[in-house]
């Protein structure tokens, strides 16, 4: 690939992702409304799509206030980290054959590393806000991330074992005959739960927990700084959905009447819908329940899955 092609891919991915993140405002509000027997925003523009414009403009014109008691530099830095780290994770997503920003041979590890970095925005944002609710949110975010990061990584190791590579393109290619959802259902299940916790979406929005902590770590944020956290969350949903598709649902693979990119987008949007359905249906668990569930159930499950996968892989090889 030439340098120009690379630049076009980067610009294209950025453009599409940021638009998706903004468009998800509308998607989420409409879908939530439909599942709650309402109609949702349907006035501005066709199907209410211009609500995205209205929301964005509103965010831009809101007063961008920094509390006098906040640690100013870190307060400003924190929202940038979440968007930055999530966007960096997208670097390794194979959207279609040859449409990938960086075809790293340690792609999966890079994704895990970058998604772990995202927690810094929560911790720093909560810490710099100098507000007890924000700090509590940050603390919860940190321990939730540590707990769920562990088996998020472990749940993917089964896939890596079956493929024999950390390269995302190779993982998708390895699913030519059979998607990994068939051979690694437990891995998918655990990755899905960990992914919800990773993006701190409902029902695992414990760092935010509107009803307990007001808005948790971003309680003091306003204007476009809050908007960055917002975009970061939507990008996170898109990222986890794209990862699930690439790792377990055959990525761009699919019948040839649609181009590979379309298959990838379709599958990703399906999982984004599932994320929103989760928000519409499930209540938030208590903080101790979440951590207990993680360490006492999911970790043993994922370790057992890892051992069984390893044993079967060895046996299949005839070793």
């Amino acid at each position: 690939m030439t340098v120009m092609q690379h630049i076009w891919i980067v610009i294209g991915v950025l453009f599409v992702l940021l638009n998706i993140a903004a468009g998800l405002i509308w998607v989420e509000r409409r879908l939530l409304a439909l599942w709650q027997d309402r109609l949702g925003p349907n006035r501005a523009g066709p199907l209410g799509l211009f609500i995205v414009l209205a929301d964005t403009l509103k965010l831009f014109f809101k007063e961008d206030w920094i509390p006098p008691f906040a640690d100013k530099k870190i307060f400003i830095l924190a929202p940038a980290i979440v968007v930055g780290s999530v966007l960096l994770s997208f670097v390794i997503i194979p959207f279609a054959p040859n449409i990938v920003v960086a075809d790293l041979n340690i792609g999966l590890l890079f994704f895990l590393a970058m998604s772990s970095l995202g927690v810094y925005s929560i911790v720093l944002g909560g810490w710099a806000s100098n507000n007890k609710y924000a700090l509590l949110g940050a603390l919860r975010g940190a321990s939730q991330m540590i707990a769920y990061e562990v088996f998020m990584g472990l749940s993917l190791m089964g896939v890596v074992m079956l493929t024999g590579s950390f390269n995302m393109g190779a993982i998708v290619e390895a699913q030519k005959d059979m998607w990994f959802i068939v051979t690694q259902p437990v891995g998918f299940f655990v990755f899905f739960i960990a992914g919800i916790a990773e993006t701190h979406r409902l029902p695992f929005d414990i760092p935010e927990a509107e009803s307990e902590l007001i808005a948790g770590y971003h309680a003091e944020y306003s204007g476009m700084k809050f908007g960055m956290f917002f975009i970061g969350e939507y990008l996170g949903i898109t990222l986890i959905s794209a990862m699930m598709v690439a790792l377990f649902f055959g990525g761009w693979l699919g019948p040839s009447f649609l181009p590979p990119l379309a298959w990838f987008a379709l599958k990703t949007f399906f999982f984004i819908g599932v994320f929103i359905l989760l928000r519409a249906s499930l209540p938030r668990p208590r903080y101790d329940q979440l951590i207990e569930y993680g360490w006492k159930i999911l970790l043993p499950v994922v370790l057992a899955n890892l051992m069984i996968t390893g044993a079967i892989a060895l046996w299949m090889k005839g070793g």
Binding site: L34, W35, Q36, D37, R38, L39, L277, L278, A280, S281, L282, Q289, E292, Y293, K296, I297
Partner: protein, 184 residues
Amino acid sequence: MRQSTLPGGGVKIMLSNLRTMWLVFLHLFHKKETIQYPEEKIKLHPRWRGRIVLTKDPDGGERCVGCYLCAVACPVDCIALQATEDENGRRYPEFFRINFSRCIFCGYCEEACPTYAIQLIPDFEMAEYNRQNLVFEKEDLLINSQGKYPGYNFYKVAGMDAGVKEKGEGDNEEPVVDIKSLLP
């Protein structure tokens, strides 16, 4: 209490969560509760307490006799009026003013009114950009209708002569006794 730690309990919770998600998903096909307001109006019942009006009797005369009972009954003091009389001795309000920015639509004025003049009707679309426009004068309140009590005319049943009927000619009223006659 600590059910979630048990493997069996955990599976049960998981299945119930999946069932919840499925049931919520089915709401996609349910009838929506939203009423698309400006195009689609809500159904208001006849006795719904909304905008206040002053009604007229079947002859087209004002029903209000300026008795001040509504102004007294009003808990937020939003009604102001001044009674006066015409040449026949029939009382009517010289001005009648309701400040709808204060009105709480409790309906006490309607209950207090002895002549069915003041009535609350099923209409709530009275938003204004200018607060002063919410002060309704008599010409804004008076409607050319008998409202909820058609056929009722206070001066037809009241004993006094106010140019509507002669004495003793009202509904359910006996003729006036001629005090100068000896006949029974």
